[in-house]
């Protein structure tokens, strides 16, 4: 079931100036419900523009965006409602924190939704838990936290709105490996428990392979591929042409195949590589024992 559908969406920045630039050119795509979809593309390929289309921050010049079977621009005055359905965590969201305490900052979204006090409190605790924010950190000032912790607070602020669709623009950019794992792991756990549809924009092929069920590839204002992670990462040439790459481990696997090692074709994460090598190893052992 697709929850988001874009039909012939076109958008340009700086219309009628010498700086006019097409950011989305006749984009058609579907995003499946209850899955983690990765959105990859080189810098300036239109990813962030596409993200801002999804909750009506930008209005397409032409084309329609259908979310949950509704054309979101049918009633332009009601565009605010879409923002409660589609939660977006922008790039470097830690710079948008403003409240006196972490608790107040996370509660900002739910408050805008005009929920009851108890409900707000419940959601703040719940989303703080998902993002790994401890109980006593809730009463601290967000400005006293470290960069990684601030990022988690910002993430919790959007999660607390319980959106049907959660969109994250480069959620792990600039974090150390531990921070990356914690943030992305938290998102995965959140999706499993809440059944939210998640879209992650990223440059990291490794993260995509590890956490996403499906991947969409953007290049030069167009969506050039949309399929399961395996399908997309098997198109090595297309990815390289789009200024992207396949995960490092996939290069290792194909180099191994080139020298005659019969390793599986679909090695995209370290875990699958480990499994594949283990299988290879045991089959070699069997051959050895046959002799």
């Amino acid at each position: 079931m697709s929850i988001i559908e874009l039909k012939n969406v076109t958008f340009s920045y700086g219309k009628k100036t010498p700086y006019e630039m097409k950011a989305l050119d006749d984009v058609n795509l579907c995003i499946e419900e209850n899955l983690i979809t990765g959105l990859i593309g080189h810098t300036g390929s239109g990813k962030s523009t596409l993200v801002q289309m999804l909750n009506g921050l930008l209005r397409p010049d032409s084309g329609t965006i259908i979310i949950d079977n509704e054309d979101i621009w049918e009633k332009p005055k009601k565009i605010g409602d879409v923002r409660f359905k589609v939660g977006i965590v922008m790039q470097y969201p830690e710079y948008q924190l403003f409240a006196e305490t972490v608790r107040d900052d996370i509660a900002y979204g739910p408050k805008n939704m005009k929920l009851s006090e108890e409900e707000i409190d419940h959601r703040v605790r719940q989303s703080a838990e998902f993002c790994g924010i401890s109980e006593d950190a809730l009463d601290k000032s967000p400005f006293d936290l470290s960069g990684g912790q601030k990022r988690r607070v910002a993430l919790a602020g959007v999660m607390a709105m319980n959106p049907k669709i959660l969109v994250l623009d480069e959620p792990a950019a600039g974090l150390d490996p531990k921070g990356r794992r914690e943030i992305l792991g938290g998102i995965k756990r959140y999706r499993e428990e809440s059944g939210t549809t998640v879209i992650i924009v990223s440059h990291s092929m490794e993260d995509m392979a590890m956490y996403c069920d499906r991947v969409i590839v953007m290049s030069n204002a167009q969506a050039i591929a949309n399929g399961t992670t395996k399908e997309v990462f098997s198109k090595k040439k297309l990815l390289l042409d789009a200024g992207l790459d396949v995960p490092e481990i996939t290069h290792v696997a194909s180099a191994l195949r080139d020298i005659g090692v019969e390793i599986d074709n679909d090695v995209y994460t370290v875990d699958t590589a480990f499994e594949a090598i283990k299988r290879l190893h045991s089959s070699l052992n069997e051959e050895g024992s046959d002799e």
């Binding site: 100036t17 923002r83 977006i88 710079y95 403003f98 900002y108 979204g109 602020g157 959007v158």
Partner: protein, 279 residues
């Protein structure tokens, strides 16, 4: 996103006006301002309108761009014009209580109408003239360089001209950055359901807090980073500093100065000897 914010107002071009030395433009704008206020004869005023129109044509900045710059000031222009209608007293009465009974208690004279029109036109000419020379055809950097150079004699009496110019350069440099940042933060808060366009005055002012606080914090952070970066490159003020682009007067600047002088002389002469309607 940066593509959406035009870099200052600069409109790229290679026209005569673009190539003028910024100091020539400063001189012109100064004289032009004086001339616009001094002009008291309709023909002198027409000369100024003509000069501005000619300058627009020479600069090749499209009319659409020029008028777009006026848009934010429409309210002020209309407001002052309307005030002027009621202000002036003249000979030809158009509206008063006796002529049109029960129509409030206002009196309007024909002269008031004309004055209002000319007043509005005066503001428009002034705005177009200055913005054409200062922002559409001059980059902010050229402009501050020009100001620094023009004011450099003041260094002799210990006015920190270089420091002021540097402050201005930095401020101008960061306007697009801040605009960009503001729209990013606004989008982020809108995504969390913020509503900036409904409710009363107090509610709207309160709605701005989630934008202003992050903006302040990031501005301080930027200022800090910039100061460190400048110190790392051994910046220590203006003494002994050389420039990448050295300002130079050329033949076209001589022409510019001459034309400017002629404009002022023309306006004064028409004021004295002209027989047009006196404003």
């Amino acid at each position: 996103m940066a593509m959406d914010v035009s870099l200052g107002q600069y409109y790229e071009g290679k026209s005569f006006i673009h190539k003028l030395d910024p100091r020539t433009k400063l001189f012109f704008v100064l004289i032009f301002l004086v001339a616009t206020f001094v002009a008291s004869d309709v023909y002198a005023f027409a000369l100024l309108v003509g000069v501005v129109s000619l300058a627009i044509i020479i600069s090749r900045v499209p009319l659409r761009v020029v008028f777009k710059g006026l848009k934010p000031l429409t309210f002020i222009i209309i407001f002052t014009a309307i005030l002027n209608i009621f202000w002036a007293k003249g000979e030809t009465l158009l509206v008063n209580q006796e002529l049109i009974p029960n129509f409030l208690t206002i009196t309007i004279y024909k002269e008031g109408l004309i004055n209002a029109g000319i007043f509005a036109l005066r503001i428009i000419v002034l705005l177009i003239g200055t913005s054409l020379f200062f922002s559409y055809t001059t980059t902010p950097m050229e402009l501050t360089d020009g100001i620094e150079s023009a004011l450099s004699p003041l260094k002799k009496i210990k006015v920190p001209v270089h420091e002021f110019a540097m402050m201005m350069t930095i401020a101008l440099r960061f306007i697009p950055t801040l605009v960009d940042e503001t729209s990013k933060i606004m989008n982020a808060q809108k995504a969390r359901g913020a509503d900036f366009s409904s409710g009363g005055l107090i509610k709207r002012a309160k709605a701005l807090i989630p934008i202003i606080i992050p903006l302040f914090i990031s501005s301080f952070r930027r200022a800090d980073e910039l100061a460190t970066a400048m110190e790392c490159r051994c910046y220590r003020g203006g003494v002994g500093r050389t420039r990448m682009k050295v300002l130079k007067f050329g033949v076209r600047d001589l022409i510019g100065f001459l034309l400017t002088g002629m404009l002022l002389a023309g306006v004064i002469l028409i004021n004295i000897y002209g027989n047009g309607y006196k404003i």
